[in-house]
């Protein structure tokens, strides 16, 4: 993990060769060629430190948490709660009471819909989202609307893939009970200037949920500076394990919300006459949690912090700039989503070559990209496309991998174009 070295001048850059050695999977081949993993927006890869932290826990300290007085239970509890503190510090929440472990971004949003929205919303109330959202930030709200009679409002986007702020502001009203927005678009990479959107919502006293699944892995996120009310993200997109994610919630809101699921760990006392719920954040963590997942997430945070989120963002931005330049040389390639502020995600189509065929042809060159609708079918519909190809980069990717992507695209055109 000594992957930072001083480059020319006083701005230390990442030592990508050293970083790549931290990721065991990057050594493998696909169809006889070195893996070029360019599907990081779907899920990133894991460094050895994360895998080791989870193995070490299972080999040495596993027991259930918050229950036993024996040594292993105490060690497991300390590791689990230690991970929660790492998350708190990483996103600058005020308190670990505001850090709820969930399965992932999807579960976090469903929790807010069912616990915050369902008891409080009714006919005439509105939930405001954008056209850019991932299905995980659409469907839970549609379900909530069916349950409560509330209405879902959708702020439109522009051809560039930016959310139309004026249209969003015009849709905000006293009827709006919640705003739910992506921080970064998974399908297009657009970074939404959420400060503006949050300020407009707050001016009307409307709480804001941010879907941060694509933001947390790639930029410094400070929930207090953002002044959002809920923030959801997943471990597996930030070098952590699958099956673990986080819901940040403002303490005053979480306190007022009823539990979402009932069971062990979320109670203080149970009798058939009356059950007393546990305090935050345990009120929302019924049942044995993903202890190893949380510990792995904590290790992922340690790893990312050892590199530095600013350096990660700079490395990924350099890859984005290079990819845009090189991809522009491919005849018939059209970029989908051209916002000025983007994460390292490039969505595109190639004339006469369907994205699904691109996916297969690129796989034969060892290049892994995502093809399809990216769980954002309204975005595809907006652009009149059934699907796009999407290359998404992480700090461990290289220019050479982008060159291989571009070469494989030329090959695909020759084969099918």
């Amino acid at each position: 993990m000594s992957a930072v070295h001083a480059a020319a001048g006083d701005s230390p850059a990442l030592d990508i060769a050293a970083i790549r050695r931290d990721f065991p999977v990057l050594r493998r081949t696909v169809r006889g060629l070195p893996l070029a993993y360019l599907d990081n927006a779907a899920s990133s890869q894991r460094p050895r430190a994360v895998i080791d932290a989870m193995s070490h826990y299972y080999e040495n300290s596993h027991a259930n948490v918050h229950r036993g007085v024996h040594t292993l239970s105490q060690e497991a509890t300390d590791l689990f709660e230690g991970a929660r503190e790492k998350v708190r510090r990483f996103i600058n929440a005020k308190s670990t009471k505001e850090v709820v472990f969930v399965r992932g971004t999807t579960e976090a949003i469903n929790l807010v819909a069912q616990s915050y929205g369902r008891p409080a919303f009714g006919p005439g109330d509105e939930i405001l989202i954008s056209w850019l959202e991932h299905h995980a930030n659409i469907v839970p709200w549609q379900m909530l609307c069916q349950q409560t009679g509330a209405t879902l409002k959708v702020a439109p986007i522009r051809q560039s893939g930016e959310v139309d702020y004026d249209a969003f502001a015009a849709l905000l009203s006293p009827r709006t009970k919640l705003v739910a927005l992506a921080h970064v678009s998974n399908a297009l990479g657009t970074v939404i200037p959420v400060h503006r959107f949050i300020a407009a919502a707050r001016a009307l006293g409307v709480p804001v949920l941010l879907d941060g699944a694509q933001a947390v892995p790639h930029m410094k996120v400070d929930v207090q500076a953002l002044d959002c009310d809920f923030y959801a993200f997943s471990g597996h997109k930030m070098c952590g394990p699958t099956g673990i994610g986080v819901l940040y919630g403002r303490e005053s809101l979480l306190t007022a919300m009823p539990p979402w699921q009932g069971g062990g760990d979320m109670i203080l006392a149970v009798s058939f006459a009356k059950t007393v719920y546990n305090g935050l954040p345990y009120k929302f963590e019924a049942g044995t949690p993903d202890i190893a997942g949380a510990i792995g997430l904590g290790a992922a945070i340690d790893y990312l912090e050892s590199l530095g989120m600013e350096r990660i963002a700079a490395a990924e931005h350099a890859l984005l700039v290079y990819a845009n330049e090189r991809l522009a040389t491919v005849p018939g390639l059209r970029f989908v989503g051209t916002a000025p502020d983007k994460a390292a995600v490039v969505s595109f189509t190639i004339d006469h070559v369907h994205p699904h065929d691109l996916g297969t042809i690129l796989d034969h060159e060892g290049v892994a990209i995502r093809t399809g609708h990216h769980c954002a079918m309204p975005v595809m519909e907006f652009f009149g496309l059934p699907a796009t190809a999407r290359a998404s980069f992480a700090f461990y990717n290289t220019r050479a991998e982008i060159d291989r992507l571009v070469a494989a695209l030329h090959g695909a055109r020759e084969m099918l174009g």
Partner: protein
Amino acid sequence: MDLKDLYRDVIVDHNRHPRNFREIPDADRRADGFNPLCGDKLTVFVKLDGDRISDLSFNGSGCAISVASASLLTESVKGKTIAEAEALFSQMHQLLTRDDDAIDVTALGKLGALSGVREFPARVKCASLCWHTLDAALHQQEQVSTE
């Protein structure tokens, strides 16, 4: 597994120039097929003369495998009876999913060009979408999805 086993010349040709790629406005049967994984959408149109398929066409959008497969389907099935079409569907299903040589590929004519698909499990649904859609049309279901 060579890419050329998947994208054979016949497939590439039928993708570039799909046959019977049109609507039949007075179709007796039609059905929409949808593959949510990749966004392929096909509509199959059937014109019947008794139990014989007198005309058959498709339109929509999809990957090279799904477009070529649909194009080859229309050429192969046109003129056949419903029972013959269903027997062919069953053979195609085996061709696309089975590892053994139970199917006589040469007897399938141009449809045999799709035999390479079974080496690419992620693409089997692309090739079979049109067949499921035809089956739905013949059974008067309006929609079919590969999921």
